[in-house]
Every structure is written in structure tokens, then in C-alpha cells.
């Protein structure tokens, strides 16, 4: 049953990869979307069954076969769905299905072969992502982890004839390698320490221990895993690949680089909640890195001009939020934000995709503007997405982001809270800068549409003409946009905090996943320990559930939470206001600010010169070493020398042995018979 | 001396002589039937209705001159006809032609009517039939003449090709009877269904019988498969260079083979010596009657059907007959398993 979930997309991949180029676009695209929908249905049923179980036993494990059976460690290929992964599979399959549908329209300009290739990659990605999510131990998860990395590489470089695209793909792949390496190290460390890589076993092994005061083995393992997460989820220092990843088709950016894959790191930390909550040092690191990333990306996003890059940086910064939440132990909040973010970020990307589609590949917001009239659907949905991410009360983003900020504050990370708040201000600002520049004001026609390599050459001629009528999103795209918009509005309501009379359902639902789940629970685990384990992720709900001492805490929390809510909503509105001021009412002001702080502006425009720094510090030295040292030195001299030597030796021997090859059958038979006689003689002799 | 041994020797002698005679008789039958079919009289002068014609032929053959090409290989040239005849005789040795009998109590224990009673008789016949090839091949090669060689190659290729389907048809019957002994097979056909249909394998194995008949004709190089001696193309095929009694031996071998094939067919498909009216000890009569009928059919076919073309022959053998035989065997096996014979 569980195996079906990743199996469906995989079948889709097989078909599309094998005979896709012979199928019509309708068939291959339809098939791809269909398998996703099927797997969504299965996931829904699974989650339904899961919800039917009692809270303490909410976990369905399905072991396919034993992968590695060795003493002392045994690794099964097993899938497990528990509340956490339940949320994830719903997000992946649901949003994934929507984006597949969207893609059928978006990629329609591609040739049949390319079309099928695209969908085969997309399906393969979905399959791997589901393996990652469902894997019940780190190794299976790692399979998915690498798989999605591969697919992301393939899809970023989908238009591989464009150098920038293929470069971006390579960059993503290599940067991820760094993280994956750390991930493997962490995994091995845990395997060595506890002879298991199964999440539940690990949890039950670790839970009894007291949280490490100083930096110890647990912290090290957690840190390594976190480095892996930074690679996959584009955090400092490994975030550089994500903006470039925008070279890929927009739906890909929406699915992989906004909704699902990049959140894998967050998910992984949530998976190992017990481990992390026992490594406070690492938690601090996670929180700080998250906050820093959030702020940095936000500032960069403020000045970027490529619509997709802005979204990319906002993704990075939102991921930073999630890590911040994880870092302060608010796992539930982090996942909550992950889940809402999936909606509105996908929505935003798809909306930008619709814009790009309408403008035949134009991505520079300085050449847009005034599209509101031409693309009503896109505009409104995009606007909803923007409001949601900005954190205006009532929409999805608000609840999750607010919960994160609150938890940060409550757990005493005031500095981090300030940064978070500042970031949310930035978020609101740059998102609405995007909205205003794209949709409002006058159409600033581009000289020429750089849309040729997007297969839209046919329409390139009217791309430039500002007043040419633009086509709004075709039905398939519009449908998806609306669906996601609705999602962005309502998605938050399953996590309404108690402070405003909600009953943080999601938090309660997720809670068991961040503790030792019942089947694996040692039983000796006391209430307060469990509190420590769960952190404050589930807030008062958990408190209430635990009984007694929770109530006072809850009472204290509510007040703070309400105030903070007020603050953050105010911040959101201020941010929007700023954006309005700078980019609608008095556009000159923006340039004025830019001119008054030229250094800062250039710094931001060039993304803090991080890429250049990496290039100088890492890439160039490596290139030099490998070229001068390894290639011209080692390879040419040593390896080639060895090879040539071997060849010479072989030919030398051959020159001798050739004498025996007379080619006369009789001689061969003779030697054979001689052998027989000798062997037989030997056995008779002794 | 033990009467059993005497009886055995008697049987052997009887079989030997009667085979010789049967060859002679067949010559006469052949000519007569041919004549009738072609609306002629056939031999009439020698004896009543030319009954003595075969004798005359044999005498003539004996007095003919022995010709041997100088370039021929003397040893093999002489050996070949002997092999042919020997193979023919040996093959018949395995054929039973009557139920076990004590000759009305002359013997203290019943003996089998037949030269030898071996438990793998079917295979023996099969094997000796395949040995018969040597006679022809060697004859063709030894007489060092292109006609002979071609005839020999043709015939051996033909015999090998048709041996396969021949064996298959045998095998299907063996499957039904569950034994390799001809006697056992015959006894398996005793009795009747519904009181009047004799339990002959002919009715269980119509296709098997057809295949057996066809490949039997091919095995004995009879028309329409008589390529070894295709007068029009190869003068006389492998025995072009043979004359006098050596030729006669080939001639004899061919007819004896026909007799053997017919007798075996009788035993395999027509219930051997089982039949109505006649008492057990006269079962041999039934064998004779059935065999004669089959022999007549042989002649009948020869004088009715034209000769195939060689490639057609091979095509037919490999592309139709063999697959058909295999299929038949498979079906039979399935049936045997299903009905648990």
C-alpha cells in the first residue's frame, strides 16, 4: 500500500522515459499527471487510515525487504507513514499533481520528445521525493535524497543547450554534493554509535539520554546532518545554487525549488527531532543560520530584478524561517510553515510562470508592469499569494510565520526574533515590490524578448510590442492557480493558534512525530522528559495533553502570543506600505535610496559577492590544482606511466608466450593430454 | 534337444523363407496391380496369371553378369547390398506376428510367435531402419558415379529427414501403450469399444497413423518419394551401377522393408493379431491380412501418385510433417496425462 505511493510516479517515469517520445503530448502529460493524482489518492487514503489510529500508535510501517543484513546493523527497505510524513506526502503528491497539470500547459511549446523527457524527470522526482519522505530509516531517506538531487540537476539543466542552464545544473549538483557528504558522515556516525539508522530506533535509543550540555557526539551528528540540510535546503553557506536553479522551467522551480525538495532539509530535521532536541548546541547553530539566511536572502531579494530570482531568494529566506523554527525547537511550527509555504510559494512561482509564459520568456520585472488588466487571473492569484507570504492576518502565511516568531520569542531568542521580524518586513516589502512592478503602473516594454530558448520563438515578434494583447493563463494553468490560491487562503486554518481561539490542530497532529512514537517508546520515558523532547513545538496543546503543569504555561503564553501577532501583522502592513510608497506612489524615492547608499545597493545587487568569493576561494584553487598538479603531473606521469608500463610488460610476456601458440591443434591437444597425465600421475603417486 | 529351442529355430527359418518369398510375391503383386491400374494384363506367360514371374526374374538375375566399374571401391561396392538386405532382415526380427502359443501343447511353456521378443522392439526397428541408410549411401559412394552419389545423398538425406517424424509417430503410440515392446503394444489393443469398434490405436491416433504411413513410404524410398532411384533424373539412383544379384539384393531389401513397415504398422495401429472371427492361434492370419492390405496400398499409391520434386519433399518433411508429428506427440502426451492411460 505505502509502496504504491512512490510506485505510481515511478511507473509514469518508466513509461514516459521508454516510449514517451512516441506518445502525443496529451498522452504523456496526461499520464504523468494521472499517476500523480493516483498517488495523491493513495496518500489520502493512507492518511485517513492513519488518522483512524489512536494518537499514540499513529504509525504505519511497511517493510519491503531486508536490504543490508549484517551483524550488528540491519537495514530494511521500509516505508513508514506517521503524522509528519503524512503531511509531507499530502503536500508532495497534492501540490505535485497540481504542478504536473500546470506543466502540461506551460511546457506545451516543447517538442514531443522534450515534453516526454520533462514529464519523465518530473515523475521520477516525485517518486524519489516520496521515497525520501516515506523512508523509515536514514539510508532509504538518503536514496530519495540523492534521487531528488539528481532530478533537480536534470530539471535545472533541462534546457541544456543553454550554457547558463547546464552550468546552473552542475552548480546545484556539486554544491549539494558537499551537503550530502556531510549527511553521509552524520548517518554513519549514528550508525556506528547506535547500530541502527531507523528513525524510531534512533529516537528510542537517544530519548533516555540527557540533552548534551556541551558539544558532544550527538551534537556532531546533528550538525553534520544539518550541513546536509543546508545543502539541500539552500541555507548559508550552501544556498548559492538555488537562485541559479531558476534557469530551469518555472513549474520545476515551483515544485522542486520552492514546494518540496528544498524543504527536505527541514523535514529531515523534523524527522530527527529527538536527536536534535538532544543537541542544544547544534540547535543554536540551526537557529542562527536559519535567521541569518532569512535576513540575508531577504535583503538580496529586495533589489533583484529577475522575477524568478526574487522568488528564489524569498524561498531561501522562508526556508531560513523554517530552520529558525527548527532551531528553537518549534518543529511543529517549522513544518506548519513548510506546509503553508508550499502553497503560496508554488502559487507565486506558477503565477510568475504564467507571466513569463504570457510575455514569452520575459523575466525582468523592469520590462513588465501594468499586466493587471491583461492577466486578471494571474494577477489576483499572485496577489493572494503575495498577501499570504507577507503574513497579512487571515491568510496561510500569517499563522505559520507568526507561530514561528512567537516560538522564537517565547524560547528566549529575542535577537533572533528581531531578525525574524525584520525579515518579515523585508518579505512583505520585496513581495509587493514584485507585485507592483509587475502588475501595476505602466507597461515598460522590453527591447526584445529573451524568450527564444524557451521554445516560444514563434511568438517572439509580438513580445516586444508593449500594447500587443497578452493571453492570460490557459485553462489548465488558471485552474491550478486558483486551486493554489484557495489553498493559500485556507491552508493556515488547520493550524490556528489557541491564542485566538483556534485549536492548533496541525501541531497536535504532528506532535507524536517529534517524540518517541509509541511502538518504539522505551516506556521509562517520563512526562517532563517528553516535554523536553517535544520542545515547545505543540505549545499549550501539548501542555494540556500532558495535564497539570501545562495550564499555567498556556495562560502565560496567550497574552504574549496575541501581542506578537499584532506586531507581526503590523509589520506586514508596514512592509506593504513601504513597497507601495517606493514603487507606486513615488518611484523616484527607490532610486534615491539606492543612490544614497550606492555601496550597499551594489552589495545587494551582487548578492554579497558570495559567488565570487566561492569562486576565488574554492573553484579556482581546485581548478589549478587539478589541472597543473593532478592532470599534468600525476595523471600524465604516474598513471599513464603505469598503464604504459603494464602494456609494455604484457607485450613482453606475450612475445615469450607467443612461441607456444603454434596454432597446430595437435600441439594444444598434446599439452592438454600432458596435463591430464601429470595430474593423474600425481594423484596416483601420493 | 529342448523343443522350445527347436520351435524357435523353426520360427526363424519360417520367417526367413517367408520374407524371401514375400519379396518375390511383392514383385508379382506390384506388377499385377500396376497392370490393373494401367488397364494392362501384366505378366501372364509364366505360370497361372504369371504367378511364376518372380521366380523367373530371380533366375534371370542370377545368370546375369556381375558388372563392377573399375573406378569403384571393390570392398564397399560388394558390402553395400549386403548391408541393405541384412538391415532389412534384422529389422523384421523384432516384429511379432502372433500371440504366445504352445502349438497345441507341443511345448511345455508358451513361446512368443516372433523371431525375438525384446522389450525395446520399437527402438530396435527404428535403429535398424536407420542402419539401412548405410547400404544406400555406401552403394552410391562406392560405385563412383555421379548418378549413384546423387541418389545416395538424396536418399540418405531423405531417410534422415523422415526418420524424425517416423520416430515421433512411433513415440506417440508408445506413449499410449506405455511400453516399448511391440507385443505389449499389440496386447494393449485387445478388445473392443462398445462391443464392435476394435480398440485399435488407429482410432486413437489417426494423425499418428497418417504420419507413420507417409514417413514409412519415405523411409522405404517408395513413390511418391522414390528419389534414390528417380529414373528420369538419376537413371536409377544409387543402384545405377549395380547389376545381377547385387541389384536383386537391393530390390529385395526394398520389398522386405515394405513388408516390415507394413507389419509394424499392423502391430502399432491395427491391433496386430487381434481381430474377430479367427481363433487366437490363427491370429497370424489377421496380421497377414492387414499387412497385405497395407502392402497393396503401397503399390496403389506408387502407381497413382506422381513423384515429388526434391525440394518439395524436404519442405514437406521438415516444415509440415515434423511439426505435425511433434504436435501430435504433444497432444497425445497431454491426453495420456489427462486420461491417465
Amino acid at each position: 500500500m505505502l509502496a504504491l505511493i512512490p510506485l505510481f510516479p515511478f511507473l509514469g517515469f518508466l513509461v514516459n522515459a521508454a516510449i514517451g517520445r512516441r506518445l502525443s503530448k496529451t498522452v504523456s502529460g496526461g499520464l504523468a499527471s494521472l499517476v500523480m493524482i493516483a498517488s495523491f489518492a493513495v496518500s489520502a487514503v493512507t492518511v485517513w487510515n492513519l488518522a483512524a489510529l489512536p494518537v499514540d500508535h499513529r504509525a504505519i510501517t511497511e517493510t519491503l525487504y531486508t536490504w543490508i543484513a549484517s551483524d550488528p546493523i540491519t537495514i530494511d527497505v521500509a516505508f513508514r507513514v506517521d503524522p509528519l510524513s503524512a503531511v509531507m506526502i499530502l503536500v508532495v503528491t497534492g501540490i505535485g499533481a497540481l504542478i504536473h497539470v500546470y506543466s502540461t500547459a506551460y511546457m506545451h511549446d516543447e517538442s514531443d520528445g522534450e515534453f516526454a523527457r520533462y514529464f519523465s524527470y518530473l515523475n521520477l522526482f516525485a517518486a524519489f521525493m516520496l521515497v525520501l519522505v516515506l523512508g523509515s530509516n536514514m539510508l532509504v531517506m538518503f536514496v530519495g535524497w540523492e534521487g531528488v538531487g539528481l532530478c533537480s540537476y536534470l530539471l535545472i539543466g533541462f534546457w541544456f543547450r543553454k550554457k547558463s542552464a547546464s552550468d546552473a545544473g552542475k552548480k546545484a549538483f556539486i554544491v549539494n554534493r558537499v551537503g550530502d557528504y556531510a549527511f553521509v558522515l552524520g548517518m554513519l556516525l549514528l550508525a556506528v554509535a547506535y547500530n541502527t539508522v531507523d528513525f524510531q530506533h534512533l529516537a528510542s535509543e537517544i530519548a533516555p539520554l540527557a540533552p548534551e550540555a556541551a558539544f558532544g557526539p550527538l551534537s556532531l551528528a546533528a550538525l553534520l546532518l544539518f550541513v546536509g540540510a543546508t545543502g539541500k535546503s539552500a541555507q548559508i553557506p550552501l544556498y548559492v545554487w538555488l537562485p541559479d536553479a531558476m534557469e530551469g522551467p518555472t513549474p520545476v522551480s515551483a515544485l522542486i525549488h520552492a514546494a518540496t525538495m528544498v524543504t527536505a532539509g527541514v523535514y529531515m530535521i523534523g524527522r530527527n527531532a529527538v536527536l536534535f532536541s538532544h543537541a542544544p548546541v547544534t540547535m543554536e547553530v540551526v537557529a542562527v543560520v536559519g535567521a541569518a539566511t532569512a535576513l540575508m536572502a531577504g535583503t538580496i531579494g529586495l533589489v533583484q530584478n529577475d522575477i524568478k530570482r526574487v522568488l528564489a531568494y524569498s524561498t531561501v529566506s522562508q526556508l531560513g524561517y523554517m530552520f529558525l523554527a527548527m532551531g528553537v525547537g518549534a518543529f511543529g511550527a517549522g513544518i506548519f510553515h513548510l506546509y503553508t509555504h508550499a502553497f503560496f510559494k508554488a502559487l507565486l512561482f506558477l503565477g510568475s510562470g504564467a507571466v513569463i509564459h504570457a510575455l514569452h520568456g520575459e523575466q525582468d520585472i523592469r520590462h513588465m508592469g501594468g499586466l493587471r488588466k491583461d492577466l486578471p487571473v494571474t494577477y489576483w492569484t499572485f496577489l493572494i499569494g503575495a498577501i499570504a507570504i507577507a503574513g497579512v492576518p487571515g491568510l496561510a502565511g500569517f499563522f505559520s510565520k507568526d507561530e514561528i516568531l512567537f516560538e522564537t520569542f517565547w524560547t528566549g531568542h529575542t535577537a533572533l526574533w528581531v531578525i525574524g521580524a525584520l525579515t518579515s518586513l523585508l518579505t512583505a516589502t520585496y513581495m509587493f515590490r514584485l507585485v507592483f512592478l509587475t502588475f501595476h503602473g505602466e507597461r515598460r516594454a522590453a527591447a526584445a524578448a529573451p524568450g527564444h530558448d524557451h521554445g516560444a520563438d514563434g511568438h517572439a515578434h509580438d513580445a516586444g510590442a508593449g500594447h500587443a494583447h497578452l493571453h492570460d493563463a490557459p485553462p489548465a494553468m488558471a485552474l491550478v492557480l486558483v486551486a493554489l490560491a484557495v489553498g493559500s487562503v485556507v491552508a493556515g486554518y488547520i493550524g490556528v493558534p489557541h491564542a485566538i481561539g483556534g485549536r492548533n490542530a496541525l501541531g497536535a497532529w504532528l506532535a507524536p512525530s517529534f517524540t518517541v512514537s509509541a511502538p518504539a517508546k522505551a516506556g521509562a520515558l517520563g512526562a517532563e522528559e517528553r516535554m523536553a523532547v517535544e520542545g515547545h513545538a505543540i505549545g499549550a496543546e501539548a501542555g494540556a495533553a500532558e495535564g497539570g503543569e501545562g495550564h499555567g504555561e498556556a495562560a502565560g503564553k496567550t497574552g504574549t502570543e496575541l501581542t506578537l501577532m499584532g506586531v507581526s501583522s503590523a509589520i506586514a502592513l508596514i512592509g506593504i506600505g513601504l513597497a507601495f510608497f517606493f514603487f507606486v506612489s513615488t518611484p523616484s524615492a527607490a532610486d534615491g535610496v539606492a543612490r544614497s547608499f550606492p555601496g550597499l545597493h551594489r552589495l545587494l545587487l551582487n548578492k554579497y559577492y558570495v559567488d565570487e568569493a566561492y569562486d576565488a576561494v574554492l573553484v579556482q584553487p581546485i581548478r589549478v590544482i587539478s589541472q597543473e598538479g593532478l592532470w599534468k603531473g600525476f595523471d600524465v606521469k604516474v598513471i599513464d606511466g603505469a598503464v604504459d608500463g603494464t602494456g609494455a610488460m604484457v607485450s613482453g610476456w606475450a612475445w615469450i608466450l607467443r612461441r607456444t601458440q603454434t596454432g597446430s591443434v595437435r600441439t594444444y591437444a598434446g599439452s592438454l593430454l600432458l596435463g591430464v597425465v601429470l595430474v593423474l600421475g600425481y594423484y596416483l603417486w601420493r | 534337444m529342448d523343443p522350445t529351442v527347436i520351435a524357435h529355430i523353426g520360427i526363424i527359418l519360417v520367417v526367413f523363407v517367408s520374407l524371401l518369398l514375400s519379396a518375390a510375391a511383392m514383385v508379382w503383386i506390384e506388377r499385377k496391380v500396376a497392370a490393373v491400374i494401367q488397364q494392362r494384363f501384366g505378366p501372364t506367360r509364366t505360370g497361372f496369371a504369371g504367378l511364376l514371374q518372380p521366380i523367373a526374374d530371380v533366375v534371370k538375375l542370377f545368370f546375369k553378369e556381375e558388372l563392377r566399374p573399375r573406378a569403384a571401391d571393390p570392398f564397399l561396392f560388394n558390402l553395400a547390398p549386403v548391408i541393405a538386405v541384412a538391415a532389412a532382415f534384422v529389422a523384421f526380427a523384432a516384429v511379432p506376428f502372433g500371440a504366445e502359443t504352445t502349438f497345441f501343447g507341443l511345448l511345455d511353456r508358451p513361446i512368443a510367435l516372433g523371431v525375438s521378443d525384446m522389450n525395446v522392439a520399437v527402438l530396435v526397428i527404428f535403429g535398424t531402419a536407420s542402419l539401412g541408410v548405410y547400404g544406400i549411401v555406401l552403394a552410391g559412394w562406392a560405385s563412383n558415379s555421379k548418378y549413384s552419389l546423387l541418389g545416395a545423398l538424396r536418399s540418405s538425406a531423405q531417410m534422415i529427414s523422415y526418420e524424425l517424424s517416423y520416430g515421433m509417430s512411433l513415440a506417440s503410440v508408445v506413449l499410449l501403450a506405455g511400453t516399448l515392446s511391440l507385443r505389449g503394444i499389440v496386447d494393449a489393443q485387445a478388445g473392443t469399444w462398445l462391443g464392435f469398434i476394435p480398440k485399435w490405436f488407429l482410432f486413437l491416433q489417426p494423425f499418428g497413423f497418417a504420419i507413420y504411413a507417409i514417413s514409412g513410404i519415405a523411409e522405404t524410398n517408395r513413390a511418391p518419394f522414390d528419389f534414390p532411384e528417380a529414373e528420369q533424373e538419376l537413371v536409377a539412383g544409387y543402384h545405377t551401377e549395380y547389376s545381377s544379384m547385387r541389384f536383386g539384393m537391393f530390390f529385395m531389401a526394398e520389398y522386405i522393408n515394405m513388408v516390415t513397415v507394413s507389419a509394424v504398422a499392423t502391430n502399432l495401429f491395427l491391433g496386430g493379431w487381434h481381430g474377430p472371427f479367427l481363433p487366437e492361434w490363427l491370429g497370424g492370419g489377421w496380421v497377414l491380412a492387414k499387412g497385405l492390405f497395407l502392402l497393396f496400398t503401397y503399390v496403389w499409391i506408387r502407381w497413382t501418385l506422381p513423384r515429388y520434386r526434391y525440394d518439395q519433399l524436404m519442405q514437406f518433411g521438415w516444415k509440415f510433417l515434423l511439426p505435425a508429428a511433434t504436435l501430435n506427440l504433444l497432444v497425445t502426451a497431454a491426453g495420456v496425462i489427462y486420461f491417465g492411460y
Binding site: 598434446g670 593430454l673 | 525395446v120 548405410y134 559412394w141 552419389l149
Partner: protein, 175 residues
């Protein structure tokens, strides 16, 4: 008694095989040897094997050899341009081979002399004899204990068939 008759015949005909200058005679001698081996099998109470020996070897394989000999009309080794000597003339390799062959026999005899129960009569108990001669028994064995070997050989035959066809096909392209 029969053993010595057939055995002697086998040895003589085997010698004939390698002694004959004319391949046709070699083939015939080999057929004779097969026949005598078949006789031995009958003596060994394995009639089925004996008949099969005749059918397969004498009936099929040897005819095939005859064919080839007739097809390539190069009967006498003396006529090949490479040597005109008697087939049993000693070449260096031949001499070595002969010596080795003799040594082989010697070793085998030696081994036999040391073999326990070499003197035991070959006839097992009668029951065993009954079993051995039963065709059904053989069939059961082949299709149960040896079914893998059976399938393998069937594949082998198929491969050999194709290979033979491919090899012997006279390629028109080159001529």
C-alpha cells in the same frame, strides 16, 4: 564370454578407425565399434542405451560424417599437399602424443590395479539389474534428478544447430 568378443571387436575396429587412410573406412570402422559397444551395453543389461547408441551414433552422427566425407571429396591424406606419408607416420607431435597415450594407459592400469573391488563382477544384485534395464526408470531420472542437465542440453543442441547452419552456409557475398 560375450564381453571378450565384443571388447576385442571394439578394440580392433577402433584401431581400424585410426589406421585407415580412407576416411570412409574409418567411419565404417567406427560404426562397427559403436555396434560392438552396443553389444557390450546389452551384456551390461542396458538394452535401451544400446539401441539408443545405434540410433544416435550409427544412425545419425555417423551418417553426418559420411555426408561430409562424400561432400569434401578429399579422401586420402596422402593426396593433401602437406604430406604424402602414411597416416601413422611419426611426426614430432605424433610421437609425443603416442608416448603420452601409452603413459595414460599405463597410469590407468596402475590406478585400476590399486582400485579396491576391481575384481568384483560387474553384475550387481539381480534387483539392481531389473532396475537398470527399465526404460521407465531412466525416463524418470532424466526428467527429475537431471532435468537441469536435460534442459541445458536441449539449449546446447539448439545452439549447435544454429551454429552449424551459420558455419556451413556458403556465403554468396564472398564468391
Amino acid at each position: 564370454m560375450l564381453f571378450y568378443v565384443f571388447g576385442g571387436l571394439a578394440i580392433v575396429s577402433a584401431l581400424g578407425v585410426i589406421g585407415q587412410r580412407n576416411p570412409i573406412y574409418s567411419v565404417l570402422a567406427l560404426v562397427l565399434m559403436f555396434a560392438s559397444l552396443a553389444g557390450l551395453y546389452v551384456v551390461l543389461d542396458a538394452p535401451f542405451t544400446a539401441v539408443t547408441q545405434i540410433i544416435i551414433y550409427a544412425g545419425a552422427i555417423m551418417v553426418l560424417f559420411l555426408f561430409v566425407v562424400m561432400l569434401l571429396n578429399n579422401p586420402l591424406e596422402g593426396h593433401s599437399p602437406y604430406d604424402r606419408s602414411h597416416p601413422l607416420r611419426r611426426t614430432a607431435a605424433g610421437r609425443m602424443g603416442g608416448v603420452l597415450a601409452v603413459m595414460l594407459v599405463a597410469e590407468l592400469a596402475w590406478g585400476l590395479s590399486r582400485m579396491v573391488g576391481a575384481g568384483a563382477p560387474v553384475a550387481g544384485d539381480v534387483a539392481a539389474g531389473a532396475v537398470v534395464s527399465s526404460v521407465r526408470e531412466i525416463g524418470v531420472k532424466i526428467f527429475t534428478d537431471y532435468r537441469f542437465a536435460f534442459e541445458a542440453t536441449s539449449i546446447l543442441i539448439l545452439v549447435a544447430m544454429i551454429g552449424a547452419v551459420v558455419l556451413a552456409r556458403r556465403e554468396e557475398a564472398t564468391r
